[in-house]
Symmetry: C2
Subunit: 139 residues, 2 copies
């Protein structure tokens, strides 16, 4: 019979490691439902809100976009459904992340190559500047 305690936005922010403005932003874009208000027009959140926001933040920490999170939230509410759709979403996000890693590794090795080519001296002789000035664009 313990009623879930009501949280003010600052409490919810502290409980989930989210900034207050970010919480209001999530409400504005319809990711977090607008909570009831107190007499003084303060937002009054319940534990349901807290759970949903935690879900969002954990998903964000894994790099999901807000749209992907919207989908995950919808799926998670559809409890009887097969979870293959969740797997697909996670898999395709993982592929994105792996692609991004591969991109960045190409950049990093090119940057290291450039760095090693520099033997000091004036800008005029700098191999880094030379590379940026005349090498072909990366494929």
């Amino acid at each position: 019979m313990t009623e879930p305690s009501l949280l003010r936005i600052g409490d919810l922010a502290a409980a989930t490691g989210t900034k207050i403005v970010t919480i209001r932003y999530y409400e504005k874009i319809g990711l977090l439902p607008a909570p009831p208000r107190t007499g003084g027009n303060y937002r009054a959140y319940s534990t349901t809100h807290r759970e949903r926001l935690s879900f969002i933040r954990r998903s964000r920490a894994l790099g999901f976009t807000l749209d992907e999170i919207r989908e995950l939230l919808e799926l998670s509410a559809d409890t009887e459904r097969d979870c293959a759709a969740v797997d697909r979403l996670v898999t395709s996000h993982l592929v994105e992340v792996e692609d991004k890693i591969a991109d960045l590794q190409r950049l990093a090795s090119e940057l290291r190559r450039m760095k090693e080519s520099c033997r000091g001296g004036t800008i005029d002789d700098c191999r880094i500047i030379e590379a940026l000035s005349s090498q072909p664009t990366l494929p």
Copy 2:
């Protein structure tokens, strides 16, 4: 004595693999100098512009921000100066890239772990949803 040929914005775009709107954007933010205009008010670029834009695009392909590129461009014009500043810029950018790679690798391995934990079935039993709903946020 061969005068450098004048390029219209579409030619410059084709020559550097840049979109026309992006070229105008670079001009607007002062990264690429505004070229003279023809009678019909078309931008008329010279090879100097083409070289500068190529430099910008190659630097972008290496992940430098436009502000970093602004600095690189300033440095590259200061031909007698010691190139240590260039090295510092490249090194700090490389560190950024490496940090980003490390971040993404953490995400990827967490995503793979979650994916493996899913044994199929309904959403209600899905370990992925469970992990997003109740695991502690990543550190």
